[in-house]
């Protein structure tokens, strides 16, 4: 037992001295801390990061507000121009996103008017959309009389009725397609040789 106590004493004595550092450890630690120990200001950095993220989110939101209605407006116009029976086209998919509104063909005066100031109706001049034109009942559109036509009318008024009817008939004949009678080609007869 006394030997055991002596062994424990030796072990404890060595453990008390175990791992002695070189002289000047404290100075070296403080020197390194002075050189590299800049305290990071984490709350400030986190605040800056959050501010930046918020600004980016606001910018994205504003861009989505500016551009999404314009896309929807274009889709509606294209739907007006096309046939509404095409459901699987890109226009139809845009239409499904946009809330259902009655499609209205604008009047000619409305097209002539400048675009209103609202964002929904705003259209960039750099990218004009399809221009809405009114549908015409008669094609081609009626044109004013030419000088030759006016002269023909005056001439017809001066003629008696019989002559005027004949002129009208003749005019209709000129407008009718020409009737060409079938051509009959008789077979060529070759004279016999040596009959001269």
């Amino acid at each position: 037992m006394p030997e055991r106590d002596e062994l424990d004493r030796m072990i404890d004595a060595e453990l008390a001295r175990y791992g002695e550092p070189r002289v000047g450890l404290e100075q070296r630690i403080l020197a390194r801390v002075s050189a590299q120990g800049s305290r990071p200001s984490w709350p400030v950095r986190a605040w800056q990061v959050l501010t930046l993220a918020g600004a980016i989110a606001a910018l994205v939101f504003a861009m989505s507000i500016l551009f999404l209605p314009r896309t929807a407006h274009r889709g509606t116009g294209a739907t007006t121009a096309r046939s509404t029976s095409v459901d699987d086209s890109p226009v139809a998919s845009v239409k499904s996103v946009v809330p259902e509104t009655p499609i209205r063909v604008p009047h000619v005066k409305e097209i002539a008017k400048p675009a209103s100031s609202s964002l929904r109706n705003y259209r960039s001049p750099a990218s004009p959309g399809p221009v809405q034109r009114p549908k015409l009942d008669v094609f081609p559109a009626p044109q004013p009389l030419s000088p030759q036509e006016r002269a023909m009318i005056n001439f017809a008024r001066q003629l008696p009725d019989a002559e005027r009817q004949k002129l009208i008939v003749d005019q209709k004949h000129t407008e009718e397609p020409l009737q060409v009678s079938s051509i009959r080609i008789s077979p060529i007869t070759v004279p016999e040789l040596g009959k001269n």
């Binding site: 030997e3 055991r4 062994l7 424990d8 030796m10 072990i11 404890d12 004595a13 060595e14 453990l15 008390a16 001295r17 175990y18 791992g19 002695e20 550092p21 070189r22 450890l25 404290e26 070296r28 630690i29 403080l30 390194r32 801390v33 002075s34 590299q36 120990g37 305290r39 990071p40």
Partner: protein, 176 residues
Amino acid sequence: MATDADAEFSALVQRQSQFVFRVAYAVLLNSFDAEDAVQETFLKLYRNSGWKDAENERAYLARVAWRIAVDHKRRSSASAVAGSADPMALDRMASSDPEPDERIAEANQRAFIHVLIDSLAEELRVPLVLSAFEELNSREIGKILGVPEGTVRTRLQKARQMLRQKLASSKEVHCA
């Protein structure tokens, strides 16, 4: 380092640097690696100032230092062989000339015990070194190492038993 906080930190370094060094040395068994780990430990303490709120300052420092030393050991353990890389330990062993002087014999005996401690497994050595400090009981050591208190006591008993056996056998050899 002119503010009060810096002065407080400087006092902490003066107060605990040797203790932190021993914790790191118990893991790394190399004076230079241990000093690197100690500097890294205090650098971390300076940056986060977590030691100010700690209930047991030494236990907190020991936990931080132990983790950093273990990480340090993982990074540099590819080439190093524990126990044989410390030049100071080699110096201690180098003075084992068979001179009859009593002081030299005692120094040799201390160096021998030191090598015996170094040769223990890390799971036995670290609690043994930490137990040498009065502020750290088995419960505190268990918190530092992340093991139950009973495990710490078992490891301490086993470590001391192994050291005693080796010391006793060496004495028998010398006496013979």
